[in-house]
Symmetry: C2
Amino acid sequence: MESSERLLREHGIKVTPQRLSIVSELSGRVHMSIDDLYQSIKKSFPSISLATVYKNINAMMDMNFIQEVKIPNQKSRFELNKEPHSHLFCQKCGKVEDIELELNTITTQAAQKSGYKIDEQSLIFSGICPKCAKN
Amino acid sequence: MESSERLLREHGIKVTPQRLSIVSELSGRVHMSIDDLYQSIKKSFPSISLATVYKNINAMMDMNFIQEVKIPNQKSRFELNKEPHSHLFCQKCGKVEDIELELNTITTQAAQKSGYKIDEQSLIFSGICPKCAKN
DNA sequence: TTAAATGCAAAAAATTTGCAGACGT
DNA sequence: ACGTCTGCAAATTTTTTGCATTTAA
Protein backbone atom coordinates (compact mmCIF):
# COMPACT_ATOMS: atom_id res chain seq x y z
CA MET A 1 0.00 0.00 0.00
CA GLU A 2 2.49 2.57 1.17
CA SER A 3 5.26 1.15 -0.96
CA SER A 4 2.99 0.26 -3.87
CA GLU A 5 1.98 3.88 -4.04
CA ARG A 6 5.55 5.06 -3.94
CA LEU A 7 6.51 2.61 -6.68
CA LEU A 8 3.76 3.92 -8.93
CA ARG A 9 4.67 7.56 -8.31
CA GLU A 10 8.31 6.85 -8.99
CA HIS A 11 7.27 5.56 -12.38
CA GLY A 12 5.25 8.66 -13.02
CA ILE A 13 1.86 7.10 -13.56
CA LYS A 14 -1.36 7.96 -11.82
CA VAL A 15 -2.09 6.15 -8.60
CA THR A 16 -5.47 4.48 -8.96
CA PRO A 17 -7.01 1.89 -6.67
CA GLN A 18 -6.91 -0.63 -9.53
CA ARG A 19 -3.19 -0.15 -9.96
CA LEU A 20 -2.58 -0.33 -6.26
CA SER A 21 -4.36 -3.68 -6.22
CA ILE A 22 -2.28 -5.00 -9.06
CA VAL A 23 1.00 -3.93 -7.54
CA SER A 24 -0.03 -5.21 -4.17
CA GLU A 25 -0.89 -8.63 -5.62
CA LEU A 26 2.38 -8.78 -7.48
CA SER A 27 4.31 -7.84 -4.37
CA GLY A 28 3.64 -11.22 -2.81
CA ARG A 29 6.12 -14.01 -3.39
CA VAL A 30 3.61 -15.91 -5.51
CA HIS A 31 3.76 -15.13 -9.20
CA MET A 32 0.36 -14.74 -10.82
CA SER A 33 -1.15 -15.04 -14.27
CA ILE A 34 -3.44 -12.39 -15.78
CA ASP A 35 -6.48 -14.37 -14.80
CA ASP A 36 -5.17 -15.14 -11.31
CA LEU A 37 -4.75 -11.42 -10.86
CA TYR A 38 -8.18 -10.58 -12.19
CA GLN A 39 -9.94 -13.20 -10.07
CA SER A 40 -8.02 -12.22 -6.98
CA ILE A 41 -8.53 -8.49 -7.33
CA LYS A 42 -12.23 -8.91 -8.06
CA LYS A 43 -12.75 -10.23 -4.53
CA SER A 44 -11.72 -6.98 -2.91
CA PHE A 45 -12.61 -4.79 -5.87
CA PRO A 46 -15.57 -6.29 -7.74
CA SER A 47 -15.90 -3.53 -10.32
CA ILE A 48 -12.47 -3.96 -11.87
CA SER A 49 -12.60 -5.01 -15.49
CA LEU A 50 -10.40 -7.53 -17.22
CA ALA A 51 -9.55 -4.90 -19.84
CA THR A 52 -8.13 -2.69 -17.12
CA VAL A 53 -5.93 -5.51 -15.92
CA TYR A 54 -4.66 -6.09 -19.46
CA LYS A 55 -4.10 -2.39 -20.11
CA ASN A 56 -2.15 -1.96 -16.92
CA ILE A 57 -0.10 -5.10 -17.29
CA ASN A 58 0.86 -4.00 -20.80
CA ALA A 59 1.61 -0.46 -19.74
CA MET A 60 3.69 -1.63 -16.80
CA MET A 61 5.59 -4.03 -19.04
CA ASP A 62 6.31 -1.23 -21.48
CA MET A 63 7.71 0.97 -18.74
CA ASN A 64 9.73 -1.97 -17.44
CA PHE A 65 8.01 -1.85 -14.12
CA ILE A 66 6.95 -5.50 -14.22
CA GLN A 67 8.15 -8.54 -16.12
CA GLU A 68 6.61 -11.60 -17.69
CA VAL A 69 7.81 -15.04 -16.61
CA LYS A 70 7.18 -17.72 -19.22
CA ILE A 71 7.09 -21.22 -17.80
CA PRO A 72 7.03 -24.31 -20.01
CA ASN A 73 3.48 -25.64 -20.39
CA GLN A 74 2.02 -22.91 -18.19
CA LYS A 75 0.33 -19.57 -18.50
CA SER A 76 2.65 -16.61 -18.17
CA ARG A 77 3.08 -15.14 -14.74
CA PHE A 78 4.06 -11.60 -13.83
CA GLU A 79 6.37 -10.13 -11.24
CA LEU A 80 7.69 -6.76 -10.19
CA ASN A 81 10.96 -5.98 -11.88
CA LYS A 82 13.75 -6.87 -9.48
CA GLU A 83 17.41 -7.69 -9.64
CA PRO A 84 18.04 -10.45 -12.17
CA HIS A 85 17.16 -13.84 -10.74
CA SER A 86 16.08 -17.31 -11.74
CA HIS A 87 12.86 -19.22 -11.07
CA LEU A 88 11.66 -22.47 -9.59
CA PHE A 89 8.41 -24.03 -10.72
CA CYS A 90 6.70 -26.75 -8.71
CA GLN A 91 5.01 -29.23 -11.02
CA LYS A 92 2.81 -30.42 -8.21
CA CYS A 93 1.30 -27.25 -6.74
CA GLY A 94 2.05 -24.89 -9.63
CA LYS A 95 3.88 -22.35 -7.49
CA VAL A 96 6.63 -20.18 -8.97
CA GLU A 97 9.42 -18.90 -6.72
CA ASP A 98 12.48 -16.74 -7.19
CA ILE A 99 15.98 -18.02 -6.63
CA GLU A 100 19.23 -16.12 -6.79
CA LEU A 101 22.05 -17.86 -8.55
CA GLU A 102 25.36 -16.72 -9.93
CA LEU A 103 25.12 -17.14 -13.70
CA ASN A 104 28.37 -15.48 -14.75
CA THR A 105 30.22 -18.71 -15.34
CA ILE A 106 27.60 -20.36 -17.46
CA THR A 107 26.88 -17.15 -19.35
CA THR A 108 30.55 -16.72 -20.17
CA GLN A 109 30.67 -20.29 -21.41
CA ALA A 110 27.65 -19.71 -23.61
CA ALA A 111 29.10 -16.50 -25.01
CA GLN A 112 32.43 -18.13 -25.81
CA LYS A 113 30.90 -21.18 -27.39
CA SER A 114 28.38 -19.28 -29.51
CA GLY A 115 29.99 -15.93 -30.22
CA TYR A 116 26.83 -14.17 -29.00
CA LYS A 117 26.99 -10.94 -27.08
CA ILE A 118 24.66 -11.96 -24.26
CA ASP A 119 22.85 -9.45 -22.11
CA GLU A 120 20.02 -11.37 -20.53
CA GLN A 121 19.27 -14.86 -19.39
CA SER A 122 16.15 -16.69 -18.35
CA LEU A 123 16.61 -19.79 -16.24
CA ILE A 124 13.69 -21.82 -14.93
CA PHE A 125 13.93 -25.05 -12.97
CA SER A 126 10.96 -27.38 -12.87
CA GLY A 127 10.53 -29.98 -10.18
CA ILE A 128 8.87 -30.66 -6.86
CA CYS A 129 8.99 -28.19 -4.01
CA PRO A 130 9.94 -29.37 -0.51
CA LYS A 131 6.40 -29.00 0.78
CA CYS A 132 4.91 -31.12 -2.01
CA ALA A 133 7.71 -33.67 -1.71
CA LYS A 134 6.55 -34.48 1.84
CA ASN A 135 3.07 -35.55 0.72
CA MET B 1 11.89 -36.77 -45.92
CA GLU B 2 13.39 -40.19 -45.35
CA SER B 3 14.12 -39.50 -41.74
CA SER B 4 10.97 -37.48 -41.14
CA GLU B 5 8.98 -40.49 -42.24
CA ARG B 6 10.92 -42.81 -40.00
CA LEU B 7 10.45 -40.46 -37.05
CA LEU B 8 6.70 -40.42 -37.55
CA ARG B 9 6.50 -44.20 -37.89
CA GLU B 10 8.56 -44.67 -34.75
CA HIS B 11 5.99 -42.62 -32.91
CA GLY B 12 3.21 -44.75 -34.32
CA ILE B 13 1.21 -42.05 -36.05
CA LYS B 14 0.08 -42.00 -39.65
CA VAL B 15 2.46 -40.54 -42.15
CA THR B 16 0.63 -37.79 -44.02
CA PRO B 17 2.13 -35.18 -46.34
CA GLN B 18 1.03 -32.48 -43.92
CA ARG B 19 2.93 -34.13 -41.10
CA LEU B 20 5.96 -34.68 -43.24
CA SER B 21 5.99 -30.97 -44.02
CA ILE B 22 5.76 -30.04 -40.37
CA VAL B 23 8.54 -32.39 -39.32
CA SER B 24 10.68 -31.32 -42.22
CA GLU B 25 10.27 -27.65 -41.30
CA LEU B 26 11.09 -28.36 -37.69
CA SER B 27 14.17 -30.33 -38.68
CA GLY B 28 15.96 -27.19 -39.73
CA ARG B 29 18.09 -25.35 -37.22
CA VAL B 30 15.65 -22.45 -37.18
CA HIS B 31 12.92 -22.70 -34.57
CA MET B 32 9.51 -21.67 -35.85
CA SER B 33 6.26 -20.37 -34.43
CA ILE B 34 2.87 -21.83 -35.37
CA ASP B 35 2.28 -19.11 -37.87
CA ASP B 36 5.79 -19.32 -39.31
CA LEU B 37 5.11 -23.00 -39.88
CA TYR B 38 1.74 -22.42 -41.46
CA GLN B 39 2.99 -19.69 -43.80
CA SER B 40 6.02 -21.67 -44.78
CA ILE B 41 4.20 -24.94 -45.44
CA LYS B 42 1.48 -23.19 -47.43
CA LYS B 43 4.05 -22.29 -50.07
CA SER B 44 4.75 -25.89 -50.97
CA PHE B 45 1.40 -27.21 -49.83
CA PRO B 46 -1.28 -24.55 -50.35
CA SER B 47 -4.22 -26.64 -49.19
CA ILE B 48 -2.98 -27.19 -45.65
CA SER B 49 -5.21 -25.64 -43.04
CA LEU B 50 -4.19 -23.79 -39.92
CA ALA B 51 -6.38 -26.14 -37.90
CA THR B 52 -4.33 -29.07 -39.12
CA VAL B 53 -1.13 -27.37 -38.02
CA TYR B 54 -2.60 -26.75 -34.58
CA LYS B 55 -3.96 -30.27 -34.28
CA ASN B 56 -0.65 -31.79 -35.21
CA ILE B 57 1.44 -29.53 -33.05
CA ASN B 58 -0.78 -30.35 -30.10
CA ALA B 59 -0.74 -34.07 -30.82
CA MET B 60 3.03 -34.09 -31.26
CA MET B 61 3.46 -32.20 -28.02
CA ASP B 62 1.27 -34.71 -26.20
CA MET B 63 3.33 -37.62 -27.46
CA ASN B 64 6.50 -35.77 -26.55
CA PHE B 65 7.70 -35.75 -30.11
CA ILE B 66 8.19 -31.99 -30.25
CA GLN B 67 8.66 -29.30 -27.62
CA GLU B 68 7.64 -25.72 -27.13
CA VAL B 69 10.32 -23.10 -26.56
CA LYS B 70 9.04 -20.02 -24.75
CA ILE B 71 11.17 -16.96 -25.30
CA PRO B 72 10.65 -13.76 -23.32
CA ASN B 73 8.59 -11.24 -25.32
CA GLN B 74 8.27 -13.58 -28.29
CA LYS B 75 5.82 -16.05 -29.75
CA SER B 76 6.49 -19.65 -28.81
CA ARG B 77 8.66 -21.66 -31.16
CA PHE B 78 8.70 -25.41 -31.63
CA GLU B 79 11.47 -27.94 -32.06
CA LEU B 80 11.87 -31.68 -32.38
CA ASN B 81 12.50 -33.27 -29.04
CA LYS B 82 16.24 -33.74 -28.67
CA GLU B 83 18.73 -34.24 -25.90
CA PRO B 84 18.33 -31.54 -23.25
CA HIS B 85 19.91 -28.29 -24.38
CA SER B 86 19.70 -24.55 -23.91
CA HIS B 87 18.80 -21.77 -26.34
CA LEU B 88 20.18 -18.56 -27.73
CA PHE B 89 17.87 -15.83 -28.97
CA CYS B 90 19.11 -13.02 -31.17
CA GLN B 91 17.30 -9.79 -30.33
CA LYS B 92 18.25 -8.34 -33.70
CA CYS B 93 17.24 -10.99 -36.24
CA GLY B 94 14.91 -13.01 -34.02
CA LYS B 95 16.67 -16.30 -34.64
CA VAL B 96 16.67 -19.04 -32.00
CA GLU B 97 19.54 -21.52 -31.85
CA ASP B 98 20.41 -24.51 -29.71
CA ILE B 99 23.45 -24.61 -27.47
CA GLU B 100 24.73 -27.47 -25.39
CA LEU B 101 25.90 -26.57 -21.93
CA GLU B 102 26.64 -28.56 -18.84
CA LEU B 103 24.03 -27.55 -16.28
CA ASN B 104 24.79 -30.04 -13.53
CA THR B 105 26.68 -27.61 -11.36
CA ILE B 106 24.11 -24.86 -11.43
CA THR B 107 21.24 -27.31 -11.06
CA THR B 108 22.84 -28.85 -8.00
CA GLN B 109 23.29 -25.40 -6.52
CA ALA B 110 19.66 -24.58 -7.15
CA ALA B 111 18.49 -27.85 -5.62
CA GLN B 112 20.60 -27.35 -2.51
CA LYS B 113 19.61 -23.77 -2.02
CA SER B 114 15.88 -24.36 -2.55
CA GLY B 115 15.23 -27.92 -1.43
CA TYR B 116 13.47 -28.64 -4.72
CA LYS B 117 13.81 -31.98 -6.45
CA ILE B 118 14.63 -30.64 -9.91
CA ASP B 119 14.11 -32.67 -13.03
CA GLU B 120 14.09 -30.14 -15.85
CA GLN B 121 15.61 -26.81 -16.65
CA SER B 122 14.98 -24.19 -19.28
CA LEU B 123 17.80 -21.78 -20.01
CA ILE B 124 17.54 -19.08 -22.66
CA PHE B 125 20.14 -16.45 -23.41
CA SER B 126 19.15 -13.28 -25.20
CA GLY B 127 21.62 -11.11 -27.01
CA ILE B 128 23.11 -10.40 -30.41
CA CYS B 129 24.34 -13.15 -32.69
CA PRO B 130 27.77 -12.88 -34.33
CA LYS B 131 26.30 -12.20 -37.76
CA CYS B 132 24.14 -9.32 -36.52
CA ALA B 133 26.99 -7.96 -34.41
CA LYS B 134 28.99 -7.32 -37.58
CA ASN B 135 26.38 -4.99 -39.03
C1' DT C 1 -12.04 -51.84 -44.99
C1' DT C 2 -11.55 -49.00 -41.30
C1' DA C 3 -9.75 -46.02 -38.06
C1' DA C 4 -7.51 -41.85 -38.17
C1' DA C 5 -6.43 -37.35 -40.43
C1' DT C 6 -7.76 -33.34 -43.12
C1' DG C 7 -10.12 -29.00 -44.15
C1' DC C 8 -13.73 -26.14 -43.57
C1' DA C 9 -16.66 -23.33 -40.96
C1' DA C 10 -18.28 -22.26 -36.65
C1' DA C 11 -17.29 -21.80 -31.71
C1' DA C 12 -14.63 -20.59 -27.89
C1' DA C 13 -10.89 -18.28 -25.60
C1' DA C 14 -7.61 -14.62 -25.21
C1' DT C 15 -6.37 -10.01 -26.04
C1' DT C 16 -7.03 -5.33 -27.87
C1' DT C 17 -9.50 -1.19 -29.02
C1' DG C 18 -12.75 2.94 -28.99
C1' DC C 19 -15.12 5.83 -26.45
C1' DA C 20 -18.00 8.20 -22.84
C1' DG C 21 -17.84 9.13 -18.24
C1' DA C 22 -15.06 9.14 -13.82
C1' DC C 23 -11.06 10.30 -11.37
C1' DG C 24 -6.27 11.80 -9.96
C1' DT C 25 -3.33 15.63 -9.89
C1' DA D 1 -9.70 22.10 -15.34
C1' DC D 2 -6.98 18.79 -17.86
C1' DG D 3 -5.35 14.88 -19.27
C1' DT D 4 -5.30 10.17 -17.90
C1' DC D 5 -7.69 6.01 -16.47
C1' DT D 6 -11.63 3.00 -16.13
C1' DG D 7 -15.28 0.00 -17.59
C1' DC D 8 -18.09 -1.46 -21.01
C1' DA D 9 -19.05 -3.39 -25.40
C1' DA D 10 -17.41 -4.45 -29.68
C1' DA D 11 -13.62 -5.91 -32.53
C1' DT D 12 -9.51 -8.73 -33.32
C1' DT D 13 -6.63 -12.39 -32.78
C1' DT D 14 -5.57 -16.96 -31.36
C1' DT D 15 -6.83 -21.57 -30.58
C1' DT D 16 -10.17 -25.34 -30.44
C1' DT D 17 -13.99 -28.12 -31.97
C1' DG D 18 -17.51 -30.75 -34.86
C1' DC D 19 -18.34 -32.95 -38.78
C1' DA D 20 -18.37 -34.61 -43.62
C1' DT D 21 -14.94 -36.23 -46.64
C1' DT D 22 -10.53 -38.12 -47.74
C1' DT D 23 -6.60 -40.93 -46.98
C1' DA D 24 -2.99 -44.16 -45.02
C1' DA D 25 -2.33 -48.71 -43.72
